[in-house]
């Protein structure tokens, strides 16, 4: 574990991606393979199943320090990271333990879930007492989730490529799917190319589009591009290999069992094919999908019941064909892949759809068509170069997303809470309200969209204009109006306001508006109906 703590410190101390890549590659080279495999897993964003609740961690901290709960909460709110707050609060331990990372990950930490809560609290304290502060911090990070040390999956792939001297795309593919963090899998990553025995289980790395930031005409000839609607669902690969159909999400999680109607329809596909597309909530007779919020009811359900399946059926909107007859098609041009996809889907049940091309003669006509995005329940258009291969990751140039402008609303800042990570100790998590019969009712929370100077100014203002404190949350005097952008608005029984605003973020601080100018809830409700 100590060596991994050193790697973490090295990663934390530099902003340079090259230095980070080199530090990870050096670790892969030096560390025992079983530890290196776990480092790849957790740095790439992998997590263990939830091992201890926040309540249990706070309770163990309280017992170990003698501090009252409120003081632990204040400290947590100030630090903005529970793992770190605990490490800073605990009395210095007697460092005696250097258990290897893989033993922590495979034996010790999983053993927590077999304990009852009081034994779990005792076990946490016993471990903390044997570790120096920086290891307590990292251990807590591993227990509570993401490491957040400025390392992306892509950077891990680059480090693996450097270490193994293999191309990044090959590493990315080998790492995709349910890669197992053990010494054998790590060795398999570094095998010479063309030696992929277990390929059949893995999805292909997804090709991701970049936002179109220049005028659409700058893309050149309209005829060189395929335009499609940008669907607002769950990106997924549908794999049919052997007798099995599998569905993988973009986060490379298996969605087995969650969408049985798609798996069932996939039974009609010939063996040895992989489709890239979008899962959408779609009623039997409808001409357009339902909004994303409808799909959310299905996402959380591991085994949906008959009622949910009937109420919220889903379809798979396919837009690319990555494999046919067991052959990898990614290097062939899009227009050929798409032709074969269309042919394949002709005889398929309606649960498997072909994403239609948005055909127009020129860019101007396409721009006009894009204005229908909202009524078609899409987010805008996708533009894909017809002669391009299916690439790996977010590579600019061949796939662009051309989204429609978001909706906006003007709302008043009513609550603030301090942020996490880089924004720890600053009030950066805001709740906004709109008017309902003379009262401000919360409708949206937003975390981003202000620059550092604005955050600092607002932070100082919040401290000076707090009305009440509820733990880490403060209510503030209604004074500041912000313009929020959002993607959709829905009726919601779960929200006090009766509406759910999807993906709200701050567009700008409207210091030109007074709180009387903020939006009215009745108007938002009307929007949600429409």
């Amino acid at each position: 574990m100590r060596r991994f703590v050193q790697l973490y410190a090295a990663l934390d101390r530099t902003g340079s991606t090259t230095a980070k890549r080199d530090a990870i590659a050096a670790f892969l080279h030096d560390a025992p393979p079983a530890d290196a495999a776990w480092a790849v897993y957790v740095l790439g964003g992998g997590k263990l199943r939830r091992l201890a609740s926040v309540t249990e961690l706070r309770q163990a901290t309280g017992t170990a320090t003698g501090y009252p709960d409120w003081l632990i909460d204040e400290s947590y709110a100030h630090v903005g990271d529970l793992a770190e707050a605990i490490a800073l609060l605990l009395p210095p331990g007697e460092p005696s333990d250097d258990t290897p990372l893989h033993v922590w990950m495979e034996q010790r930490l999983p053993s927590l879930s077999r304990l009852d809560p009081s034994a779990r609290v005792a076990q946490l304290q016993a471990w903390w007492a044997t570790l120096p502060s920086e290891e307590v911090f990292l251990l807590n990070k591993l227990i509570t989730g993401a490491l957040r040390v400025g390392v992306s999956q892509r950077l891990v792939v680059q480090a693996l490529a450097l270490w193994s001297q293999l191309p990044t795309d090959l590493i990315a593919h080998r790492l995709s799917g349910d890669w197992k963090p053990d010494a054998t899998s790590l060795a398999a990553l570094a095998q010479p190319a063309g030696d992929d025995a277990h390929r059949e289980h893995r999805p292909y790395p997804f090709f991701l589009a970049s936002p179109l930031e220049s005028p659409v005409e700058s893309l050149g000839e309209r005829a060189e591009w395929l335009a499609e609607w940008k669907w607002d669902g769950i990106r997924a690969q549908l794999m049919r290999r052997g007798e099995e159909a599998r569905l993988w999400s973009r986060g490379e999680e298996r969605l087995d069992g969650r969408f049985p109607e798609i798996e069932q329809a996939a039974g009609a596909l010939p063996s040895g094919c992989v489709l890239d597309g979008e899962i959408l909530a779609w009623d039997a007779q409808a001409t357009a999908p339902r909004p994303f919020t409808a799909l959310q009811k299905r996402i959380g359900k591991l085994k949906p019941g008959a009622k949910l399946l009937a109420e919220t059926p889903v379809r798979f909107m396919a837009y690319d064909l990555l494999e046919r007859d067991g052959a990898d098609l990614r290097e062939s041009p899009l227009h050929l892949r798409r032709a074969r996809l269309a042919e394949l889907l002709q005889a398929m049940p309606p649960t498997l759809l072909l994403s239609p091309a948005a055909d127009t003669d020129d860019w101007a006509a396409l721009a006009r068509l894009r204005e229908q995005s909202r009524e078609r329940r899409t987010e805008g258009l996708m533009l894909k170069r017809l002669d391009s291969p299916y690439r790996v990751g977010r590579k600019r140039g061949d796939w662009w997303k051309w989204k429609v402008d978001p909706y906006t609303l003007d709302a008043v800042l009513i609550y603030a809470q301090s942020g996490h990570g880089r924004r720890a100790g600053l009030f950066t998590d805001y709740t906004f309200g709109v008017w309902d019969r003379g009262h401000l009712v919360p409708v949206a929370k937003a975390y981003s969209g202000l620059d550092d100077a604005e955050i600092a100014r607002l932070d100082a203002w919040i401290r000076a204009h707090t009305i009440e404190r509820f733990g880490p949350v403060r209510s503030v005097e209604p004074e500041h109006v912000f313009e929020l952008a959002y993607e959709a608005i829905q009726r919601s029984g779960r929200h006090k306001s009766g509406v759910a605003v999807r993906f709200p973020r701050i567009l700008r601080w409207r210091s030109d508006l007074s709180i009387r100018d903020a939006d009215r809830l009745e108007d938002l409700r009307r929007m949600a109906e429409g």
């Binding site: 100030h78 990271d81 609060l89 720890a424």
Partner: protein, 328 residues
């Protein structure tokens, strides 16, 4: 009921029975000034009362015409009806706590203080009193200072690493107090030259004249650039971070020496590569210890975000209040 010794006013903390202010923010007739930091020692007061150990620094800050009375630590003097004396607070060279005695009651205003040893100044002196006014800059238990020797080890390891990588080691720290304390802590460990940003020169010279032992320092040459500074340690004020001054270092590792560096988010937000936890304020345990040492029946908490300290002290059975509760 009005307190005859403590009255927070717009101009600063006022002592009605003595007719003076402590660290006034606006010009007044009589000012007792605890130390030479800019937010405590301001120009424009008619008369200043300070500790002798800090006289030269005060003169530097306040200018030649200022009327400054200097007193030894512990030397009593009278202002109005109050007997006043100044006692070391351990914050920086010449920093003082203010002890006020009136009608048989003793009030101590700590000013800024710390409990850790500091080779540049006299250590904090615990004073028995009835009412103790404490600062609360770092008033949460997550603030617990590591031993200075450990911090200096880390700092030297960082400097060595920079030398190996042939990059400059630029250490940001407050120009008055913190910079000289770091230099004095380095003195027994290194005899290499340390380069100083212009803002640190005069103040460091004053510390040398006060007898503080520091490694050799030299002003950063106006045209020194790039390779000439590779592997060198440079001390600069935080205001130089991100300024055009930094352009002379094509490759530098940056660090900040401050108590705030205890929290990772603070360091990441400010964009320093490294943070060294060095503070001239009391940590959580230092605050609690000083409250206990004072034996005071009434504790007032000032400065910073002291709500948690007040609540904690009250739960521990102390009669603690925010100083602002005294009202104006």
């Amino acid at each position: 009921m009005r307190d005859p010794l403590l009255q927070p006013r717009r101009e600063g903390l006022y002592c009605p029975a003595g007719g003076f202010y402590i660290d006034p923010a606006e010009p007044v007739a009589q000012a007792v000034v605890t130390h030479a930091h800019g937010d405590h020692a301001r120009q424009g007061n008619a008369r200043y009362h300070v500790a002798r150990a800090g006289f030269r620094l005060m003169r530097e800050r306040l200018g030649e015409p200022a009327l400054i009375e200097a007193y030894d630590y512990g030397e009593p003097f009278t202002l109005g009806e109050v007997q006043v004396s100044l006692h070391p607070s351990g914050h920086m060279l010449g920093a003082a706590q203010v002890r006020m005695e009136y009608a048989g009651r003793v009030v101590v205003v700590s000013g800024d203080y710390k409990r850790e040893p500091d080779p540049t100044c006299a250590p904090f002196e615990p004073i028995a009193c009835d009412t103790f006014v404490t600062e609360s800059t770092f008033a949460l238990p997550v603030y617990r200072w590591p031993p200075m020797a450990q911090v200096i080890d880390e700092l030297l390891a960082w400097w060595d690493d920079c030398a190996r990588r042939k990059v400059s080691a630029v250490l940001f720290c407050y120009a008055l107090g913190k910079a000289q304390r770091l230099l004095a802590e380095l003195a027994p460990r290194v005899d290499r030259v340390v380069h100083l940003h212009g803002a640190l020169l005069r103040l460091t010279q004053l510390y040398r004249e006060a007898g503080v032992v520091m490694p050799p320092t030299q002003p950063l040459e106006e045209n020194a650039r790039g390779a000439a500074l590779a592997g060198e340690l440079v001390l600069a004020p935080p205001s130089a971070a991100g300024s055009p001054w930094m352009r002379r270092f094509p490759n530098a590792s940056t660090a900040f020496a401050s108590g705030w560096m205890q929290v990772r988010g603070n360091r990441r937000r400010r964009g320093y590569d490294r943070g060294f936890v060095v503070s001239d304020h009391a940590d959580w345990n230092g605050l609690l210890r000083s409250v206990r040492d004072s034996g005071a029946r009434r504790i007032y908490v000032t400065h910073g975000d002291g709500d948690a300290l007040v609540r904690y002290l009250r739960e521990q059975g102390h009669d603690a209040l925010p100083l602002s509760a005294l009202g104006a």
